[in-house]
Symmetry: C2
Subunit: 92 residues, 2 copies
């Protein structure tokens, strides 16, 4: 099942609220490789999102896991409906 199908839940009821989900996975060759790219990218990616959408810190869930070969970051952001306006003004 490709990741995309997980998101594209055709036929399910339209969302009651806007949501942005971000998943990052870093697959390393060496077990426990030194740098942790996911940790390094986390703050900067959240900063990029915050530039375009008003984010309520209480509506952001961040889950990080570090396995032998794979580190993952899951960010789930509930977006207040009016937050999008900020984006449109820029795009117009």
């Amino acid at each position: 099942m490709s990741l995309f199908t997980f998101f594209n839940r055709k036929g399910s009821a339209p969302a009651a609220r806007e949501r942005l989900q971000i998943l990052l996975a870093h697959e390393r060759v060496h077990i426990g490789g030194q740098s942790d790219l996911v940790t390094i990218l986390r703050e900067e990616i959240l900063a990029v999102v915050a530039k375009h959408v008003t984010i309520d810190p209480e509506k952001v869930s961040v889950t990080m896991e570090r396995g032998d070969n794979v580190s993952t970051l899951e960010v789930d952001i509930e977006i207040p409906l009016h937050a999008e306006k900020k984006v449109e003004k820029k795009a117009a």
Copy 2:
């Protein structure tokens, strides 16, 4: 199946090369919805990654899909092994 399990393929052979996968999904309330957050975030997220890892444009695959309620962005980056060094020097 949570997205995380898709990445954390326990027991599978260690990766032959380093890989970074990014998945972004924007679930909208209104069908069609004006702005396309995923398109807006795409370039900036790639720029954040490029700051920390040497990226070979030929080893980056970007897939974007826009459904009625959900837009998704999938980025798959093959990372050359020495690229990580750039990250370590900064961290030391």
